[in-house]
Amino acid sequence: MATYELNVNGQRKQVNVDPTTPLLWVLREELKLTGTKYGCGISACGACTVHVAGIATRSCVVPVSLIGDRPIVTIEGIGNDPVGRAVQDAWVEKDVVQCGYCQSGQIMSAVALLKTTARPTDANIEQSLGGNLCRCGTYVRIREAIKRASGQLT
């Protein structure tokens, strides 16, 4: 076990966990931030996506010991960011969600995309969210919502 000081959603959090514990489980089990979901556990589905130093990161495969002092933002904190707020609003407006399990990961990836590409094309969206799977098949509405948020931001 080891103690780690994490910067999560702008707050300092201290956890005492095994160094090999994936960040996902630190967020969910230690910090009770359960908006980030466990999907596949091998970074293949994107449900566990959070931002680490602004990079959309698959938290299920990153041991907490490798985080260091990089700031973490989860779905619980992304609404404090203007881009995150716009994306969440667009998600509601376009009624994207069906079962919702993958959607926090979808939103985190969408925000990462819009932060680097203000007016993404369909191809940009498909590439950037290509690692976020949705078994309900909400992809068309996800694309519409991203474009809606883009329009709101530019």
């Binding site: 091998i42 970074s43 990079i55 495969v61 990462a112 995309l113 590439q127 950037s128 290509g130 690692g131």
Partner: protein
């Protein structure tokens, strides 16, 4: 001195037999040296050519060793000609729809760094290293069917400074010796099932030594296509 002794009949006359022997010896030596130099002057172009040929041959042997490493999965999986990296010893397409992206680092939302951290994550089986990224397309060592390029083609690409970020021979040696992602190939960590990833066919020390011999030979490339 000898001629003078003959003319004058001086005491030096007594030394004449010895002097003649010395003169003959000196003459023989001079003639031998001259002949030797003459022979060497005729032979030297061939000798120099032989040295060059030997050096080039040694360089080509060293290059084949370098090539064996470059085309091993630990290296070639990120030197693709396609829009995606590969993974595993079977060099399969990287899972999760990972793509190259404009800088070889994936795209926003799906960057290499979305999973690959600064070091290996052995507990989850995700390899990592500083600045994890794909090699540029100019340094592709595969064709579009994911088949490794020939030794000649890779050699020509890697020695073309318009393709290799302007690295000359010493620059290539330093790249092989120090670059973090090159060195990673010999510390590739564990697979998700806990087993160790396979290593290139040479040790890093052998790889660097082979690169050095190749560079010292003038980075020769094999003939052909």
């Amino acid at each position: 001195m000898l001629l003078r002794s003959r003319r004058t009949g001086s005491v030096f006359d007594q030394a004449a037999p010895n002097a003649n022997r010395i003169l003959r010896s000196v003459t023989v030596i001079l003639v031998a040296c001259g002949a030797g130099l003459l022979l060497m002057s005729f032979a030297s172009p061939q000798a120099r050519h032989g040295d060059r040929a030997r050096t080039r041959t040694e360089g080509l042997v060293a290059w084949q060793q370098v090539y064996s490493v470059l085309t091993s999965p630990r290296c070639i999986n990120c030197h693709t000609a396609t829009n995606y990296p590969q993974q595993g010893d079977d060099r399969r397409r990287h899972f999760a729809n990972v793509i190259r992206g404009p800088e070889g680092k994936g795209v926003a939302g799906l960057n290499c760094a979305s999973c690959h951290q600064e070091t290996n994550a052995d507990s989850t089986g995700v390899p990592g290293g500083h600045n994890w990224h794909l090699a540029p397309l100019s340094m592709r060592w595969q064709d579009l069917n994911d088949e490794p390029l020939s030794s000649v083609a890779v050699c020509r690409a890697i020695t073309d400074q318009s393709k290799n970020h302007h690295l000359d021979g010493p620059g290539l040696l330093k790249h092989h010796e120090d670059e973090a992602l090159v060195r990673w190939a010999w510390q590739p960590g564990r697979r998700p099932d806990g087993t160790m990833r396979t290593l290139p066919p040479l040790t890093h020390e052998e790889f660097v030594a082979a690169t050095r011999r190749w560079v010292e030979a003038g980075t020769p490339c094999p003939p052909g296509r």
